[in-house]
């Protein structure tokens, strides 16, 4: 067992290049005003619509997590708290607002003032306030797409029409703000691109059903999520995911896993503690425990169960994605079912729930979720608590203790099962 590991493949470098190119575009937009940029939230993002204007998405969440992963999130969080944000406010919000106040960006480049702040309000009430504050601080128009929460298994016709109407209104608003006419053909091509990217991403996720899994569907999936949200609707996105699939498929065919020996297979629930991302990963690496599925990697979209954007019904499929095909807008029972399918179809040994102190959206109900999996389904489930952005909530010794104890127990379960099989 090793405590430190290198996890990088060539796709990690490709990802870095793509994301730097994106930040380059944002820097250019900040300096020249072109291309137009639109602030959006990741969950159920409608990046396809932006392609119809040649506009570039700006994701405050990605900026916030980039800072956290580089151990730079505390200063902006404290700056926001100085302004009056409470200790238990979403730390993403505080980091982002703090950055704005202090002029901090995740790279050396600049971030533009967006043309529009588009609050694609999916599942999280806090975002509404976050984007209202951004609009106020940046003096930028705000448009809120009110996406109905999933109350039933499928959205109703009126839910879909409601969102499609708002997408059409967004188009008109963006035409006014950018001075550009909406290019419907380009939008349709973007939806087509997304459909192809999503197919590739889904295939990658299904590779994790093999044993050993060729990649970690939590820690490595996070690397792939940036391109998924920024480039999904572009040919560059399709190319990136074709290359990623080829690399990972070759690895899977050669029976190469993340570790020398894949000892445990896990399903991960909740965002990671970005300020201690590497530390947290190493705690699982020590036990050669590989995540084979994760709910966090479906925040931007849930594609492994078959949903694709549809170029024949571009607006409707964008609406369907925003309402029903991302984990944050789905109800808790749907999330339970998603995790249960992962455990069974991806052949997992247990579930790890990472409770995020400052994220009510993702963390509400996770205590019951733990009970459901341990008591009703008999799936070993560990509950650990810290934060996705605020380093003050991460207690390394406590977290390590729980993880070690969980694997000690899981080792026993596997060992006795193995003995029973031999007998």
């Amino acid at each position: 067992m090793t405590d430190k590991k290198e996890y990088r493949g060539s796709i990690h470098q490709r990802q870095k290049d793509l994301m730097l190119a994106w930040y380059g575009q944002l820097d250019q937009a900040a300096l020249t005003g072109t291309p137009p940029t639109v602030s959006m939230m990741i969950s159920g993002n409608c990046v396809e619509l932006l392609e119809g204007f040649g506009a570039v998405p700006l994701y405050p969440e990605i900026n916030a997590l980039q800072l956290a992963i580089r151990h730079q999130s505390l200063d902006p969080i404290l700056a926001a708290e100085d302004l009056g944000y409470a200790a238990d406010n979403c730390a993403y919000v505080k980091a982002d607002i703090g950055c704005l106040l202090k002029g901090i960006t995740p790279t050396d480049g600049k971030l533009p003032t967006p043309t529009l702040i588009l609050c694609n309000f999916v599942g999280c009430n806090t975002y509404l306030k976050w984007f209202e504050h951004l609009a106020k601080f940046q003096r930028v128009p705000l448009y809120v797409i009110d996406v109905p929460f999933m109350r039933t298994d499928e959205p109703s016709r009126s839910d879909l029409d409601y969102v499609v109407n708002q997408l059409n209104e967004t188009v008109k608003r963006l035409e006014q703000l950018t001075g550009r006419k909406f290019d419907y053909d380009r939008f349709r091509q973007a939806v087509e691109c997304s459909s192809r990217t999503e197919g590739l991403w889904s295939q990658i996720k299904h590779l994790a059903r093999r044993s050993p899994s060729p990649f970690d569907a939590y820690f490595d999936a996070i690397t792939l999520m940036g391109p998924l949200y920024v480039y999904r609707a572009k040919p560059e996105g399709v190319e990136f995911f074709e290359a990623a699939l080829a690399e990972l498929e070759a690895k899977a065919d050669a029976h190469k896993g993340v570790y020398e020996q894949e000892h445990f297979r896990l399903v991960m629930e909740g965002p990671p503690p970005y300020p201690y991302f590497r530390t947290f990963r190493d705690m699982f690496a020590k036990w050669q425990a590989c995540a084979v599925a994760s709910t966090y990697s479906t925040v931007g979209g849930l594609w492994e169960f078959g949903f694709r954007h549809d170029p024949d019904h571009p607006f409707e499929s964008v609406a369907m994605h925003m309402i029903a095909q991302n984990v944050t807008n789905r109800n808790l029972l749907q999330r339970y079912e998603q995790i249960r399918r992962y455990v069974e179809d991806w052949d997992a040994d247990g579930v790890i729930i990472h409770f995020v102190k400052s994220c009510r959206l993702f963390s509400a109900g996770q205590g019951d979720m733990r009970d459901y999996f341990t008591k009703q389904l008999g799936v070993p489930t560990l509950y650990v608590e810290s934060d996705l952005e605020d380093p003050r909530y991460f207690a390394e010794a406590q977290t390590k203790n729980r993880i070690d104890a969980f694997f000690e127990s899981l080792e026993h379960t596997k060992a006795t099962a193995s003995i029973r099989r031999k007998v």
Partner: protein
């Protein structure tokens, strides 16, 4: 004859035991020292004390397992395991039939569901809050100007225990001062403190299926007032070994014994020691 040791470096105190299987498995030495700032030194002191007690040289000990928060600082240990796993193992050894462990230590409280062989089935712990731990009691004792050893017996004399509203280890001090100002007796205040901790611990343990036999472990198990308060809120008697404070170290020593005996691939989990009893 096999001689093994377990060293449990807790946040407040460090415990060590030496066990031998000469003429039946038994504890031949035990030591307790304050952990203090130098974790490694505390582990060495506890282990050395045990060796002197048993008239052994350190090299006579065949295998040493470290546990507790400071387990990775035990330079002389052969391997480490969490105290959660060790408490389950140790409790099953000392109190056969244990299915639930309630451990109250200096800064931790935890509930563990235990299988028939002393294995951990599930566990829950306090998170980011010392309510329901020994620290809550220590702070209460300090603000009332009495020693920690006195709080349990005094609490048993409570006639009308007060209601402690806060679960915060820091703010309990102002609650206590307020009751003192109202002229409440130390016994009634401490009775209330013990009930508050017991209720807090019960709400933690309820996240598991609390099944009998219930065994209480950890340093707070020495406090008879706490044992009684917990039994009252749970509505069931608990098993409390005189060695409750050493159970983590004992569990570690049992694992050390099994590690020493590698005749069976997964021997550490066979639980034969639990089955044979340990008193």
């Amino acid at each position: 004859m096999r001689i093994v040791a377990g060293v449990d470096v807790g946040s407040t105190q460090t415990k060590a035991v030496i066990m031998s299987d000469n003429g039946g498995l038994q504890i031949i030495a035990r030591a307790l020292v304050d952990t203090g700032a130098n974790v490694q030194r505390a582990a060495e002191r506890a282990f050395d004390t045990c060796c002197r007690q048993a008239a052994l040289h350190t090299s006579d000990v065949g295998f040493i397992v470290g546990t507790g928060y400071g387990r990775y600082k035990i330079a002389f240990g052969n391997t480490q395991m969490t105290e959660i796993t060790c408490h389950a193992k140790g409790a099953s050894f000392l109190c056969p039939g244990t299915r639930t462990v309630i451990d109250m230590g200096g800064q931790d409280s935890k509930a563990i569901s235990v299988g028939p062989k002393g294995e951990v089935l599930d566990f829950v712990m306090n998170d980011k809050c010392a309510a329901g731990t020994g620290r809550f009691l220590a702070n209460s004792a300090e603000v009332m100007g009495i020693t920690l050893d006195e709080v349990g017996p005094l609490s048993l004399q409570a006639k009308h225990p007060v209601k402690i509203a806060t679960v915060c280890t820091v703010f309990v001090e102002s609650d206590i001062l307020s009751y003192l100002a109202q002229g409440k007796t130390a016994e009634d205040i401490l009775g209330g403190v013990h009930i508050a901790i017991a209720k807090r611990t019960l709400s933690l343990a309820r996240r598991l299926n609390i099944e009998p036999e219930i065994t209480m472990t950890g340093g707070v198990a020495r406090n008879k007032g706490m044992v009684q308060a917990l039994e009252e809120v749970i509505g069931r008697k608990m098993q409390v070994s005189p060695d409750a404070q050493f159970i983590g170290a004992i569990g570690a020593a049992l694992f050390a014994l099994e590690k020493l005996d590698q005749s069976f691939e997964f021997g550490i989990w066979r639980g034969e020691h639990a089955a044979s009893g340990g008193h």
